[in-house]
């Protein structure tokens, strides 16, 4: 099994130089820590930043510079600021190469549910998740393979309210890397060390097709 650090590192491994990337809150944010400094990947933040850098050291915190999770960040040389309509124009207009989000569920048809846990959620908060899921060129999800009580999060159809339809291309979990292939469903690309296909399948709520 992979731990959270290894999951983030595994995602980072697949991001090539030159991509514009938006990282969601949680494990996705930590993907940035695993992109080597000499590989130029430009991070986008919904609140109007391109070229976002890591968190500052405590005595260099700039109150005017926060990420989408409202945590202090830094700006790399070459970075820029812009307003919210331009920021989401970049997202919706297909200019962002990759978005990495967490999720409650991903379905074999690429549907994603990551913003509300029931139809009657008290005050659900969607933020930019629907815009990112619908607009980015690629959507990858990084999440645990199952819930804390063992229910599969990779499913045939999402039970929770959808964030977007047919949007996810790839899922990185603590057990495996799985592609979502239109017309085929979940295709297993990689299994975490020490696990078998049968073990991963038993914790998955839909058929895992062999990589071929």
């Amino acid at each position: 099994m992979w731990n959270r650090t290894q999951m983030a590192a595994r995602v980072a491994q697949d991001i090539p130089e030159g991509w514009f990337v938006n990282l969601g809150i949680g494990i996705p944010t930590t993907v940035a820590d695993h992109v080597p400094l000499d590989r130029e990947v430009i991070l986008h933040s919904e609140n109007g930043i391109l070229g976002m850098g890591p968190a500052p050291v405590p005595d260099k915190v700039d109150a005017w510079l926060v990420n989408a999770g409202k945590q202090p960040v830094t700006l790399r040389p070459g970075g820029s600021f812009f307003h919210h309509a331009d920021s989401f124009g970049m997202i919706r207009g297909g200019h962002i190469d990759l978005c990495v989000l967490g999720a409650f569920e991903v379905a074999e048809n690429g549907d994603i549910a990551n913003w509300a846990t029931s139809e009657n959620d008290t005050a659900p908060a969607v933020g930019g998740a629907m815009d990112l899921a619908a607009g980015a060129k690629r959507l990858w999800v990084v999440m645990d393979h199952t819930t804390k009580d063992g229910r599969p999060k990779l499913v045939e159809r999402c039970g929770y309210p959808l964030t977007a339809m047919a949007a996810v291309q790839r899922v990185y979990t603590n057990l495996a890397v799985v592609d979502v292939v239109p017309g085929r469903g979940f295709v297993l690309r990689e299994i975490a060390p020490g696990l078998s296909l049968a073990e991963v399948q038993s914790r998955t709520g839909a058929t895992l097709h062999a990589d071929a």
Partner: protein
């Protein structure tokens, strides 16, 4: 001589009516015009519809205005954040209406209002419960949701500097929703940290041209905002 600079928060908020739709800039605490928002409590307008990305935090600014019972409805993308307990209590008690809008759709609805576009189609939200009851139309084989422009009676924005013509520049990620809201309301009021002489802001550096701004008021904030 055109002079949009006013001397007090009270003067900046003169004439705000009950029932107004108020656009409030900011993303979390950054670029949020807290002094103007708190000025609304003093000013007294009630039955307000507030448009903001978040639903306030702690006991200041928007949270304080809501706690004072002045807000009938909030239109936002992310009401649930650290310290948003005032909103959550009011919402649970059924004392405030909530309209959830995806963040980019929220920004674009105001941009459209400012640009004279009454409605537009977006792929965001198609097939989700936030599209329920809305017109769906297919473009390039993909469903899109029709969204309406969102116009304010009043916009409260925060900028780093401004001049007497109402030209504004923002600071770093404090820009966020502010320029979009500034163009989407009948009365746009800007609180600024610095007043510059006319011509003191380089023309190439103006983010919001004064055409969108009616009143400018200086605020004096200490650390960490200086």
């Amino acid at each position: 001589m055109i002079d949009k600079i006013v001397q007090s928060i009270a003067e900046a908020l003169q004439g705000v009516q009950d029932g107004a739709t108020v656009l409030m800039g900011g993303f979390g605490a950054v670029g949020q015009p807290d002094e103007l928002i708190e000025g609304l409590i003093e000013q007294g307008a009630k039955d307000l519809t507030v448009v903001a990305n978040n639903a306030g935090a702690g006991k200041v600014g928007l949270a304080k205005l809501m706690e004072a019972g002045r807000v009938r409805k909030i239109i936002c993308s992310f009401p649930r954040s650290a310290g948003s307990s005032v909103f959550e209590e009011l919402y649970r008690a059924g004392r405030i209406e909530l309209e959830i809008v995806p963040q980019g759709t929220l920004a674009e609805r105001m941009r459209a209002a400012g640009a004279g576009i009454p409605a537009f189609y977006t792929p965001t939200g198609a097939g989700t419960k936030l599209a329920q009851g809305k017109e769906i139309r297919e473009f390039n084989g993909r469903p899109h949701v029709m969204e309406h422009a969102l116009k304010g009676d009043l916009a409260l924005v925060e900028a780093w500097e401004g001049d007497r013509w109402g030209n504004l520049t923002y600071r770093e990620s404090g820009r966020n929703f502010n320029p979009v809201m500034a163009m989407a309301a009948d009365l746009t009021v800007a609180q600024v940290h610095h007043i510059r002489e006319l011509g003191g802001i380089a023309p190439d550096a103006v983010h919001t041209p004064g055409i969108f701004v009616k009143r400018v008021v200086r605020v004096h904030r200490g650390a960490p905002w200086v």
